[in-house]
Structure formats: structure tokens, C-alpha cells
């Protein structure tokens, strides 16, 4: 049976998640996950991505807070002839999007053949929008879109044995990076509170070792041979 993340971290540095001995152990895990997710190639994340969200006329946009967007495709073709061509959407910044999609005479006007999407923060909720407009009323039909994404894990999830959208092989890298962050906190304690130089040196050496292992692990996952 696979180990929990907290157990992996405990094995690496002896830190007990149940002890609540530091304030930011959950944040350390969140940041480590975010860093690993941001570093991994999209192709690898796509392979393990959760089911995509369908954008339809009833719900043409998507709340993308806390998510990394991997791919967006818009469907053109013919419902009657059952031709559904997924055209990849190009990502535009919000200013490009607002300019390009509003001027029908522009040479940059996106079409069904070359659709675009943007991340719009206008209403304080980061929202994904696609152009040309989504008019299909049911998923997997013409003029609808699909969004592949991964959600950055958030909150208290040290008891998980797997993370949605991530392959098992990546969990070791997450544990290494989390352990490294926790060691930072423990080293700070040794400096600020205990003034224990001997322990500090030992923690520093262990952190160096963990960081090096993490780099090797990420190199393996991100490199040519990284696709599991």
C-alpha cells in the first residue's frame, strides 16, 4: 500500500505532521506541489490530467483560480454529419483578447479555425473565456470547448496517498521539496530559539542533500526520459 505524503516526509526528515510543532507544514506541502506542477512539462501533466471541463452555452466560462491550464480546444465541424474537429485555442493576454476579438475588420480576429482563450481577472475571479463565443448547448458538440487543467492542491492533504492529476512518480519530488521547506523552518528554530550550531550544521547538510536529490528527481521527470 502506498505511503501517505506525511509518512514519506517523516521518513525523509523525521518530521511528524500530527505533532503541529510548526505553523506552516500545510503551506510547505502546498508550495512544494505548486512548484512541482509549475515545473513539469505540460505533456506529462496532460497524460494524467483529470477529466476536462466542458464549456457550453449554459456555462461558457470557467473559474480557474488555483488551476494550471494545460490545454483549451474549441470544437468546430458539423453536428449533423458528426464531424467534431478540436481546434487548439491560442492563449492571449487579456488586453490582446479584448483588442483582437472586438474588431471584426482586424487581421487578428480569431475564428473557429483559429480560436483563442484568455484568463480574465475582471470580476476579481480569474475566469477563462474562449472566442469565438461558445454557443453549443451540450458537451462534445460543435461550438463548445474543452479545458484540460490541474488543480494546485490546497489545505490539509498530508494524509493523501495520491494527488489528483499527478502521476505517483511525482509524489517523491513533492515529499523532497516539502521536506526541504520544513527543514528551513527547523533551521530557523535552531538559529532563533535554540542557538544550537551543531544541530544547525546537521540540518543544513541534510537540506543540501535533499535539494540535490530533488534536482535530480525533477531533471528525470522534466527531461526526455521523464514521461512516465
Amino acid at each position: 500500500m502506498a505511503a501517505k505524503l506525511s509518512e514519506r516526509i517523516q521518513d525523509l526528515i523525521g518530521f511528524d505532521y500530527a505533532s503541529n510543532s510548526i505553523n506552516t507544514e500545510n503551506e510547505a506541502l502546498e508550495v512544494a506541489c505548486a512548484e512541482v506542477i509549475d515545473t513539469l512539462p505540460e505533456e506529462l501533466l496532460l497524460k494524467y490530467a483529470v477529466a476536462p471541463t466542458d464549456l457550453i452555452s449554459g456555462a461558457p466560462t470557467m473559474d480557474i483560480r488555483g488551476k494550471r491550464i494545460l490545454r483549451v480546444s474549441r470544437i468546430e465541424g458539423s453536428n449533423d454529419d458528426a464531424i467534431f474537429i478540436h481546434r487548439p485555442c491560442e492563449k492571449l493576454t487579456i488586453d490582446e483578447y479584448l483588442y483582437n476579438t472586438q474588431d471584426a475588420n482586424s487581421i487578428y480576429l480569431p475564428t473557429s479555425h483559429s480560436p483563442v482563450y484568455t484568463e480574465d481577472p475582471e470580476s476579481a475571479v480569474a475566469t477563462l473565456k474562449v472566442f469565438p463565443a461558445i454557443t453549443g448547448s451540450s458537451a462534445d458538440t460543435v461550438n463548445t470547448a474543452k479545458v484540460w487543467y490541474i488543480t494546485y492542491p490546497y489545505g490539509d492533504f498530508d494524509g493523501n496517498i495520491a494527488l489528483d492529476g499527478l502521476p505517483n512518480e511525482v509524489e517523491h519530488a513533492v515529499a523532497l521539496k516539502t521536506a526541504s521547506y520544513i527543514l528551513d523552518t527547523m533551521m530557523s528554530d535552531k538559529i532563533q530559539d535554540d542557538e544550537d550550531e551543531e544541530m544547525l550544521r546537521m540540518l543544513q547538510a541534510q537540506k543540501q542533500n535533499l535539494d540535490a536529490t530533488y534536482q535530480i528527481e525533477m531533471g528525470r521527470l522534466s527531461g526526455e526520459k521523464g514521461e512516465q
Partner: protein, 236 residues
Amino acid sequence: MNRVEIIELVQQHHPHMGEVEILKLINRALDDFTMETGILREYVDIQNTVAGQRYYTVDKCISIINVWIDDVLIPRMASINAAMFIDDDEHVNADNTLATPSKTSNERYWYPIQDDGEIKIGLIERSTESVKRDDKVSNYQSISETGLQIRVYMMRRAVHLATGSGSGTTFTPEINSVFHQALVSKAIGEGYKDPRNQKFDAVQFFVGEYEDYIKQAKKVAKRNAITTGVVVPHTF
């Protein structure tokens, strides 16, 4: 080659370009190619005559080769000045139009005018009763009969490709498919002038390729679908 193939071929060189930008380049190339070569020719019934109406617009026309009225080939009026000596001003500002002729003549002529960015043909008849105005007399009147079919044989521009089209002339360029690659070469060459993907040696190559197609197409257009014989030298 159709719209999708053309777009994909251009995107192999310029992946940053979208459909609209590529089609604008292709349509410009299409205009230029048909204008330069005169390869796109067509017999088209433009409309029926209207008694007293002299001018008829010929859409997408580059130049007119022949005109038929009621399936009868009519000659071109050699002197436009003679034809327009007393003009029917309906094509500019119809405030002083000539009256509809009361008598008919089958001695008909046509002449072209370029007006307001389009080509129109003027249809006239030799007048059996002179047309007079300001002490001047013209021997030509506007066409006098209604409902005669006007057919034109002309060199013309092609219909532009349109975004999202799936069939017809907005999907597949109207010129002979042998020359579709010319449009792609021209668009790729123009794309390499763009600062986003500027390569002047590539411009030279692709525009040169396009010009080779132009030469070839001009030969085809001049040949006019006729194979000529060969003079074989003999020793007597």
C-alpha cells in the same frame, strides 16, 4: 487545394498567423494572380436589358472580351467618345437621363467604362431617329428593348476565400488547381516580410517561386486552350 489545406501550409512557416490574416494574404495573392495573368475567364449572363438603361455593372471584371445580346455577338464600339457623345447620365447622377428610345434597332454595340471602382458596359443601338441635345446630334441611343439576355465573356477576379467556409468558391480558389500552390508561395513570402518572422532570403525564394507560376499561367492564358502545330524543317 482548399481553404484548410492552404491555411495549414502557410502555418507550417508562420504558425503565429490565424485564419483571417492568412486568408487576407491569400485573397490578395488571388487578386494579383488573376490580374497579372488574366487566366480566369468566364461566360456569364449578367442580367437582362432594360429599355432605356445604358449601363450594366459587370461584377469582378478585369476586362471584357466579348458581349452577346440575346445570344448574338455584338461588336465593340471603337470610339467611346462617339458612343458617349450624348451620354445617358444614369451611371453618375440620373438628373438628365435620355428618354427611353421609341424605335428599335438591331445594330447594337457595347463599350466599357470604368466607374466608381467597377467596370460597366454601355449598350447602345444605332439610332434611327437622331438623339439631340444642346444643338448636338448623336447617332446612338441606349438599348431600346427590355428582357434581352446580356452575356459577357471576360477576364475576372476570383471570389475571395471566406473564413469558416466548407464548400464552393469561398472554400476552393477558382483558379486552376495547378496554380493553387502559387497562392501559398505568395502568402508564405509575404509572411516572411513580417517583423514577427522576418527572413529576406525566404521572401526572395517564395516570391520568386510565385513569379515563376505567374509566367507559366500567362503562357497558359495566352494559349487559350489551343495547341498550335510545329513547323518541321525539311531538306528538299
